[in-house]
């Protein structure tokens, strides 16, 4: 048996009779960068919401790191090491760049409910936070207000904040969406870099990004998982070509 960090069985979500996620059996290999692709409205974000328990599944099971997490609240899933990012930019705009990362780190110190202590007690994690910021190239901007960062930097900060949770599995929802070429390249190599020793499941529309960093690829269409495999396997899959790639032009560049 292969080492799957995440497995779902028959995972489904129905909104008022509309099935957004339909009997998904997904298996994510430990240590892989696993890309999830599919047209708009395929149910990718909904699937992420189910995995991280932001939504209640209508049916199915989720196993993460050897245990069933189907019945856990989202914060517990996060604490166990499955940490997600969001499709829309999600930094804490009212906090500094450094504080965005510290807020992810401080919970583990057990200080977060201490309303009577000075914020200075958090200085003990400054070094750790700066090291993480350094990984994503934001160390010099540590004291900036997060809300004032340009878009590409915000996404990098989100990665840093997610990373601060020391996740086993990172779920990234379109981390390169809305970026220019340069930022896409930067964030792509960043993901590659920070994935060392972790598993990444990412939604990605940019096939160039997928081709360059994904070990495994899954295709979702109308809530159903069409295929899973390497980029070559998936782009050769008849059903995928017919349903998603619409003739195979876009996937055909792989070689």
């Amino acid at each position: 048996m292969t080492d799957a960090v995440l497995e779902t069985r028959g995972l489904s979500k129905t909104f008022l009779g509309f099935t957004a996620v339909d009997g998904v059996d997904l298996s994510v290999q430990r240590g892989h960068i696993h890309a999830l692709i599919g047209p708009n409205g395929a149910g990718k974000t909904t699937l992420f919401n189910l995995l991280t328990r932001f939504l209640e599944p209508s049916a199915g099971e989720i196993r993460f790191d050897g245990t069933a997490v189907t019945a856990l609240p989202p914060r517990q899933v996060a604490r166990r090491g499955m940490v997600r990012s969001f499709q829309i930019s999600a930094v804490f705009a009212g906090l500094s760049v450094l504080d965005n990362v510290r807020v992810a780190l401080q919970r583990k110190l057990g200080l977060s409910l201490h309303f009577w202590r000075s914020v200075r007690v958090l200085d003990q994690i400054n070094e750790q936070a700066l090291a993480i910021l350094d990984q994503v190239g934001l160390a010099e901007l540590a004291n900036e207000a997060a809300g004032a960062l340009p878009y590409g930097r915000k996404r990098a900060l989100e990665l840093a904040t997610t990373l601060a949770m020391d996740p086993v599995l990172m779920l990234l929802d379109e981390p390169t969406q809305g970026m220019g070429y340069e930022d896409v390249d930067r964030v792509t190599s960043l993901i590659k870099k920070i994935s060392a020793g972790r598993t990444v499941l990412m939604v990605e529309h940019n096939m160039k990004v997928v081709a360059s960093i994904a070990d495994t690829l899954s295709v979702l269409q109308r809530g159903r998982l069409l295929a899973t495999g390497s980029y070559q396997e998936v782009s050769a899959n008849e059903e995928v070509i017919r349903a998603y790639l619409g003739g195979g032009r876009r996937g055909g560049t792989a070689a």
Binding site: S96, R107, H114, W116, V119, N143
Partner: protein, 349 residues
Amino acid sequence: MTASFTSRRISPRASAYALLLIALIAAPWVGLYPVLGTKILCYALFACAFHLLLGYTGLASLGHAAFLGVGGYLAGYGVKAWALPPELALLAGLAAGALLGLVIGFISIRRSGIYFTMITLALAQMVYFLCVQIPQTGGEDGLQGIDRGLLFGVLDLRDDTAMYYTVLVIAVACFLFIARVVYSPFGQALQAIKDNEPRAISLGYHPPHYKLIVFILSAALTGLAGALKAISLGFVTLSDVHWMTSGHALLMTLVGGMGILSGPVVGALALVVLENKMGELGTLIAGATGIAWFTTLGESVMMVMGIVFVICVLAFRRGIMGEVVALQQRRRGTPASSSTTSASREPQP
């Protein structure tokens, strides 16, 4: 929390606070009627407590009159019926606020926006009707002639000036406490939750805990403000538990400036003074314009407050302190990338 980056290093802010404190200490000596000063401080504490919730969680409660009123009633009743010394009466008010805050907060905290506001309002109205019904509150008459007594058995609070300074010390201590809460690890988490709740959850936070704690702190301080008001002014009436008093806290906060620690203090000062001097102001305007109607201004406090509210919402949304801060930043030319960036709360285009 615009101040979160600046407050640690910028001195203009510190010197403004020092100046304000000196002014408050000197006030009775330069002609401020100490009872008016006491009233201003009580309302300032009330507004600050209310703002601790609204400004740092975004939750607009219309139930704070319940905490103020119950805190005041319990303190007043304690003095009258059980002859409690003032320090214990104040503690009773604080505890009553905290306890009621726990109950109302527990029920309301999982809602947000207008639902939260409506639930707090509904629960506070239940408290209001309870206060109308039970005999201990004195019904329509309220509790009158509450004796101030001796603080810790030594300081005679019947002296207005002694009372003023006692309230000042307590109010300043509470203000410092609120500042500490805002600039604590808890305050950081609260800010994160306010900025983006789903993101905070995805980092393992459980927002209801944080909101409930801050709700209880806010309610406790409001209860204390009610008790202080009861003891220093000597009476508690149904208007203290009336929902309009909650609206008053909201108004003071909006006029003073939201998200700024000193905002509600300034708002309370402005509105209490306005309210108290309205009669004189009306006579003045009537004399100047010859329109006799203005002499009735003193009786139409509600209407004037309404107008203030409208002006505030339409003309300067940031409130008095919000405008001051914005002006300062404009004058400084908003440093683009200095380490003391403020303006962080402004959403980027």
